[in-house]
Amino acid sequence: MVVLFAVGLYIVLTSQNLLKKIIGLNIMETSVFGLIVTSGMVDGGSPPLLGRGLEAPYASPVTHALVLTGIVVALSVTALALVLIVRVKRECGSIELDELLEPEE
């Protein structure tokens, strides 16, 4: 998970393409979600549901709720970013960061 996080961060920092930066961001997010979900695992634990004949120990249900919320947040960030990229493309004609910054110099 830490490797995934580092890969994502590396893409965000080094890629010149805005779209690839967003993909990098999503990789980072996925790695964090994975980390959260696995931290809720209990050895030999059953799904935290009542009334299905499942017995304790249960896996922690909190982490799943956290990841669900996190995914919603990540989705909205990605959606907003994609809208902005469309606008940048329309108004500046490029989504390559080096091309965008050059003409101003």
């Binding site: 965000v12 964090v32 980390l35 956290l66 947040v73 960030v77 970013a81 902005l84 940048v88």
Partner: protein, 498 residues
């Protein structure tokens, strides 16, 4: 549980609900939408002020959501930081919304008016929630609520620069959010808890200090980005200068302060855990603060655009706050907290009055705005008052925090830091005087200046009020500091009480 306690969730839910409804109900009806937003913000401010009076009477206001007690349930707590920044957020958002009546019409396309009002309200709700959150995950969620609405607000401005600045802000902000979430994941894996004071207690017994250290590092870096503390300020000037003026006021005045709030909460959590000494963190904040003060002020001085200067001045002032926190003496932390509140007022006044000048003339460079004071006396006067305050001249609101931070430097036995505090103030004064000089004493250079009209009353009233408060705020400094003192002790003493 008294009835007033229920106002705490209301201060979060009310602006967010009103904000979500705004675009749905008032699409393309600018006037109605504006009044809707102003009413919602005023009601939120009233809610917060009721909570403030409740909290001042009887200590913390606690609200267990759904009746489940902490640490198993989610608890909202309205503490000293909530009193300080919550009331500032409510008041300033209200003033910004009033001033926006004139701004938004020219600075955003008509389809976006209702979106603007909705997003400002959601931003306010997010900040209130962030201040009230007592568990890490709510802290994260509300951080995202005000951050995402801030990205969208920057993008509301016309022109290609705004879209790119908003995207840059979004990417940097999202990375910092992910660092915070990673830290939360690590802490939750270690302790099995999300409640901040509970984590503090349990962390001492946790086996892996390395993971806790990584979590601390991620939280600090994440919140330093949100607070735009040097060298993680690089996203700020573009975003704050290219956003519509009321949005710049909101971001520079309030949203960056939330990063500092997060930093304070982190420090309190780890001070309570007491697993490693926080001296390194404090030292880091001192050095970053020193660098930010000097570099921010120098960069502000060499800018030619009015709003960029103000944006770099935010970097300087966040440096002051970081320095005050890092010194970790009662006077310095009190000064940092006072400066958080006062700088919010001053910077909102600065951006709104500068925005008024830019709005009437359509010009944004200092050299082009020469001689404008004759045509726009009220806006120029408000800008001048706020500029003197941001430089920290003695009777002004900006003076209180800086003086206390300098006193704190003495307390901490590092008198050379006083020279840094002073030089930051002098550099700020230097560029402030350059602006004042162009406005008042140089002959007009551009035709737009000769035909510019004074800003409408909806802008003049808030900026004059903010300017006057910024100017005489220092007189109330003793009172504010006296009130802040227990809070700064609480921040410093976290953990030592056990």
């Amino acid at each position: 549980m008294s009835a007033a306690v229920h106002l705490l969730p209301l201060s979060v839910v009310l602006p967010i609900t009103a904000g979500v409804l705004a675009p749905a109900l008032f699409h393309r009806r600018h006037n109605a939408c504006s009044w809707w937003a102003i009413t919602a913000a005023a009601l939120t401010l009233a809610t917060t002020l009721t909570l403030v009076s409740e909290a001042l009477d009887g200590g913390l206001v606690r609200y267990p959501v759904g009746g489940w007690p902490a640490p198993y349930g989610i608890e909202l707590v309205f503490d000293g930081l909530g009193i300080l920044m919550g009331s500032a957020a409510g008041l300033l958002t209200l003033l910004i919304l009033i001033a926006s009546r004139a701004f938004v019409q020219t600075e955003a396309t008509p389809q976006r008016h209702s979106l603007f009002h909705g997003l400002v309200l959601i931003n306010l709700g997010g900040m209130n929630g962030f201040l009230a959150a007592s568990d890490l995950f709510n802290l994260f969620v509300f951080m995202e609520v005000f951050s995402i609405s801030a990205y969208a607000l920057v993008a509301l401005a016309r022109g290609p620069v705004a879209a790119l600045a908003a995207l840059k802000y979004l990417i940097v902000g999202a990375v910092s959010s992910m660092l915070v979430l990673l830290a939360i994941a690590l802490l939750h894996a270690q302790t099995g808890s999300l409640n901040m004071s509970d984590i503090g207690d349990r962390l001492a017994a946790a086996q892996a200090p390395a993971a806790a250290g990584l979590a601390l590092g991620c939280l600090v870096v994440g919140f330093l980005v949100k607070a735009a503390v040097f060298p993680l300020h690089f996203w700020l000037p573009d975003a704050h200068a290219s956003a519509p003026s009321p949005v710049s006021a909101l971001l520079s005045g309030l949203v960056v302060k939330m990063g500092i709030v997060g930093l304070i909460r982190t420090r309190m959590l780890f001070a309570e855990a007491d697993i490693f000494s926080l001296v390194a963190l404090d030292l880091l904040l001192v050095w970053l603060g020193v660098a930010a003060i000097v570099i921010g002020a120098v960069l502000a001085m060499i800018q030619r655009e009015l709003k960029l200067m103000l944006a770099y001045s935010t970097v300087t002032n966040m440096g002051y706050i970081a320095l005050g926190l890092g010194l970790a003496t009662p006077a310095a932390v009190g000064g940092a907290l006072a400066h958080m509140g006062f700088h919010a007022l001053i910077k909102t006044g600065l951006f709104l009055s500068a925005g008024a000048l830019v709005l009437s003339t359509g010009l944004s460079r200092i050299d082009d705005l020469r001689g404008l004071a004759q045509r726009m006396p009220v806006s120029s006067a408000a800008l001048t008052l706020a500029l003197l305050a941001v430089a920290g001249l003695p009777p002004t609101a900006g003076f209180v925090g800086k003086w206390q931070i300098a006193l704190g430097a003495l307390e901490a036995g590092q008198p050379w830091l006083i020279a840094v505090v002073m030089s930051g103030a002098l550099l700020t004064l230097a560029w402030a005087i350059r602006i004042i000089n162009s406005l008042y004493f140089l002959p007009p250079a551009r035709g737009q200046v000769l035909t510019a009209d004074e800003a409408p009353l909806s802008i003049r009233a808030p900026i004059l009020m903010l300017g006057l408060v910024a100017m005489v705020g220092g007189l109330a400094g003793a009172m504010v500091l006296e009130w802040i003192e227990p809070l700064s002790f609480r921040i410093l003493e976290a953990g030592h009480g056990h």
